[in-house]
Structure formats: C-alpha cells, structure tokens
C-alpha cells in the first residue's frame, strides 16, 4: 500500500518531537495531539487535550462514562464527523501530517487507522465477504490476492481455524466473541498502522474477552493500538501506557504501571481504587 510516503514523513517528524512527556523519548510517535478541543453543538466534550501516542504500543484510555474517551478515540479517525454538529480546534498530527485539516481525506486516514467497535458489527454477508470488504473498496479485484488477504487477516486475528471451513457462511452464525475477532480481522485486512478499539470486549463474555486481550498482545508487535475500556483490570493487563480522562480533560497520562501503582493525581487514584465512576 501507499505507506512509504507516510513513513518518510515520520522520520522527519521524529526529530521535532523530543518533548515527549513520558519515558523513552526515542519511541516513534504515531499520534501527536496538540491543544485539541471539541464541541458537540454547545457541549464542550474535549478540553485542551495534549497526548503523544507511541508506535507499536498499546495505549489504554480509561475514565468514567461521558468523560470523552470514546469521543477522543473517534477523533483519531475522524468518525466524530458523522455527528453533524461537531466542531474542533487544535491539531492531531498523524506521522507528521495534520489529520484534522480538511485537505486530509478521511478515506485515506481510515485506511491507515482502522477501528473496532464496542458491539461486534459484521456485515450481513459471508465471512469471506466481510474480510474482503475493505480490500475491495480499495480496488482489489483479483480473486487470488483477495483469498490471500482473507486467510492472512483471519490468521492474524486467530480465528482462521474456527472459520476456514465455513468462509461462505453468514457471519451472523458466529458467536459474539468470534464476531468481534472477525471484525478485528476485517480491520487487519485494510493493512492499517493503527487500530482503534472502542470498548471491544464490553459486549463479550469473560472467555471471549480473554481471547481478545491475548490477541491485542500479539497485534501490538505490528500495530499501534489505542483501546478505550471501562475495565480497569483490562487496561492494567494489556496496555503499555494509560491515559485517564475526566470531564473531557486528560488528568494523567503515564506508563500503565505508574498510573496503577503510583498515580500523580488524586483523582486518578480515586478512580482506579473504585471510589467513583
């Protein structure tokens, strides 16, 4: 795919971003959010967000309902724009390019930044067609290449063995957990750099949740993952860094261990110890 141009830009961007707030400044940045504000109509949903998200790490975003964590996630692939009244100021740099700029095509952005949703949402099509959907809309027609992408993506999401004999069957015949892994596979099929996950296990049973968590650990070798979760144990288990959102602001952003063992802010401590939220 056309990632090489973007990669070059990243190298250039690296030298600029020495102001990484947390450890390991040598890590490559994938998203650099500067003074992001967002309004839904008159509601100020995100306030002065500054966040640097590293490549090939799992970044968890936690916080109580309505704190803006899902909104922030959806800003990263501009899905918030589906809400007609949305308005933003500030900047999000994706590998050196300003994605909130209207000249940055959302279709292009979403090819690099894939998304997995809260509720498994396969298309009412066959398993094969679900995975082939992304490559097809990007113009791939060759049956052999599609076959390869489908197998590779399903293997990548550790669901190949469960579905390889029923690729032509409707995806809605799968269990909830399988559907969610299918949706992850569908995202892998567009060969993104980043995978956004919006509470991907909140509709799943514990066993399926564990499978997704294991999968996230595997995926971070090749992808940058940003995951919104209500489940603090999950954030502690699977993420490298954690951002705590409250009332549209980032209260604290640090290495996950630090957030959970030695938070700097009193509000973070109250939240992770279950005193509110």
């Amino acid at each position: 795919m056309s990632l090489s141009i973007v990669k070059e830009n990243t190298e250039m961007q690296l030298n600029v971003n020495n102001n990484v707030t947390t450890a390991q400044a040598s890590n490559k940045l994938v998203f650099d959010t500067k003074d992001l504000n967002l309004w839904y109509g008159n509601t100020h949903a995100l306030k002065d967000i500054n966040l640097q998200i590293n490549e090939k790490e799992v970044t968890a975003i936690i916080g109580p309902s309505g704190c803006g964590k899902s909104t922030y996630l959806k800003t990263l692939n501009r899905m918030v724009e589906l809400v007609p009244t949305v308005r933003t100021t500030g900047e999000i740099m994706y590998k050196g390019k300003s994605i909130l700029d209207k000249s940055f095509k959302v279709e292009d952005l979403r090819t690099h930044v894939g998304m997995v949703f809260q509720k498994p949402n396969p298309f009412p099509k066959s398993i094969y067609d679900n995975i082939a959907y992304g490559p097809r809309i990007h113009g791939i027609r060759n049956k052999k290449i599609l076959d390869e992408i489908v197998e590779k993506s399903l293997r990548g999401a550790y669901i190949w063995d469960e579905v390889k004999d029923r690729l032509k069957e409707n995806a809605y015949g799968l269990s909830g957990g399988q559907q969610q892994r299918l949706c992850i596979a569908r995202t892998l099929a567009i060969e993104p750099d980043v995978i956004l996950m919006d509470e991907p296990t909140s509709a799943l049973d514990p066993k399926s949740t564990l499978k997704i968590e294991d999968l996230v650990q595997e995926l971070k070798k090749d992808y940058s993952i940003i995951i919104v979760t209500h489940n603090m144990q999950q954030a502690a288990r699977i993420s490298d860094r954690t951002a705590f959102f409250l009332d549209g602001e980032v209260v604290e952003f640090d290495v996950t261990d630090t957030i959970f063992t030695n938070p700097a802010d009193k509000r973070t401590e109250d939240y992770i110890s279950g005193r509110f939220g």
Binding site: R110, T111, P124, I137, T187
Partner: protein
C-alpha cells in the same frame, strides 16, 4: 405500608379482564367486517365472470359486440405502462430517498421538502391526472400515449415510494455504515455495498404496494383521455392504448345499454386481480431473495 392494596387489585381484576375481552371482540369484528365485504365483492365478480373468461377473451381484440370482445389490448397496455412506471418510479424514488436521507444537509429546506413529499402522497389521483394532461399530453405534446400515462402514474406513486424508501434507509442500523466508513469507504461505496442491500427489502415492499396501486388506478387515465375503443394492440410506449382498469370503467359505464358489458367488466376485474397477484408474487420473490439476516 404498601401502596398497592391486594384486595383492591383482586376486586378490579374481573373488570380489567372483561375490558380486555370486549376490546378483543371489537378488533375481531373490525377484521371480519373487511373480510366479509371483500369476500362478497370477489364472489359477485367471479359469479358474473363465469363463462366469460376463455382463450378468445384473453387474446382477442376489443369490440363493441360483447361476445366477440377480447382484452389482450388492455393487458398489453397495462403491462407496457408498468414497464414505464416501474423503472421511472424506482430510480427517481430511491434516488430522492438516498439524497434526502444520506446526502442532504439536515435543515429547514430539507424539512420543508420532507413535509411536502408527505403531503403529496395525499393529493387525490385525479389531480395527478390533470397534471399529466397539462405537462405530458399537452405541453410536451406526447398525446395520450403509454409513456404519458406511465409518467403520470409514476408521479402519483412517487411520494409513496420515496417515503417508504426513506423509512427503509433510516432503519438500517448505523453500526453497519460505521463499520464501512471506518475502513475508509466513501459514502457512495457505503450506500451501494451496505445501506442499499440492507434497505432493499423495505424499499421493495413500499414499491410493490405503490405499483399495485398504479396498476388499478383509473381516474388519472380518464383525465388524460384514453379512447373507449381501440382496436390495434400497443407495440411500444409511444402507442395509444387502453388499460385494464379503463376497460372495467367503460364497460361498467355502458352496462345499462348492453347488459353483457357487466359480465365483461367482471371478467376483466378477475384478470386484473390475477395479474396483480402474479406481479406481486414476483416482486415478493425478488425481495425475499435479497433479504439479509442480521
């Protein structure tokens, strides 16, 4: 202390159950009333038509002599007209619905258009006939040909199709289109691959009902001016024509002069009902083929 008194509840119980049963009877009576009227109608029509529907009647040409009259011309006229109405209505109707639901900015103008479309669905069909006469027959100088009749009926049922298609599009769960947008699909790709396939059964249901109405419509055609007797079969959409409901209308009108015309009208009604049934079955078959499970 309890707010709900068990004794009071059991005292009222019989009254509540009785009320339920009374209403059930009323609803049943409403259904039965419609069914009985329909049954009488169909019975009368079939009794009157017995002995009149034969091969010569189905394939013959129109004639003033009742025993020689055939309705092939009217059948062909109706079919040709549907060949105009169906594509014109579906393309314009679905196109409008897609624009209003998915592309148009939600605002004052959009809501004015929306209200007017809903109002248009309630305009009497004869008014559409006058519109068709003014625009297609006279201003565009088509004359009273199949194309003019078909376009007039399209206008008549367009509001119904648009509203039904809008409802169907709105009913497509947003998580499906979000999944598509999330992979970098454009709006059109999302519409074509996700929204339309999911909305199609609903759209077709509306279209079937609307087309059935168009097939039986008489008033707009009388205004356009369909000749009472036309011998040659129509061979294309630019020919003059008659249609099944027109024949029913004329024969019923003249049954005081020639008693057998009443039988011809009854026979034509049976043919129209059978045709309607066949076309509906075909449409329902197509719809079920596209039905998706989710």
């Amino acid at each position: 202390m309890k707010y709900i008194d068990v004794n009071q509840v059991s005292k009222r119980m019989n009254g509540r159950i009785a009320k339920n049963n009374i209403l059930k009877s009323i609803f049943l009576a409403a259904t039965v009333f419609g069914l009985i009227v329909l049954a009488i109608l169909i019975y009368r029509v079939i009794v009157d038509s017995v002995g009149w529907i034969d091969w010569d009647f189905l394939t013959g040409r129109l004639s003033t002599a009742a025993e020689r009259a055939g309705i092939m011309g009217a059948i062909l006229g109706t079919l040709w007209m549907m060949l105009v109405v169906a594509p014109v209505t579906l393309i314009l109707g679905i196109g409008t619905a897609i624009y209003l639901e998915l592309y148009a900015k939600k605002g004052k103008l959009q809501s004015i258009i929306q209200t007017n479309i809903s109002n248009l669905a309630g305009v009497p069909s004869i008014v559409y006939g006058i519109l068709g006469l003014t625009i297609f027959v006279r201003a565009m100088d088509m004359g009273n040909i199949i194309l003019a009749g078909g376009l007039t009926l399209s206008l008549l049922i367009l509001p119904i199709v648009i509203v039904a298609a809008q409802e169907a599009i709105r009913a497509v769960p947003s998580f499906l289109s979000e999944a598509s947008y999330g992979m970098g699909a454009t709006k059109w790709q999302t519409i074509k691959n996700v929204i339309l396939p999911a909305a199609l059964p609903g759209i077709l249901t509306g279209a079937i009902l609307a087309l059935s109405r168009a097939i039986g419509e008489t008033a707009p055609l009388t205004v356009i001016g369909i000749p009472a007797l036309i011998i040659p079969f129509p061979e294309g959409i630019f020919d003059k024509f008659t249609a099944l409901p027109m024949q029913i209308y004329y024969w019923t009108l003249d049954s005081s002069l020639v008693a057998e015309y009443a039988n011809l009208a009854a026979a034509t009604i049976v043919v129209l009902l059978v045709l309607l049934f066949v076309l509906n079955s075909a449409a329902i078959f197509i719809r079920n083929k596209f039905q998706q499970r989710f």
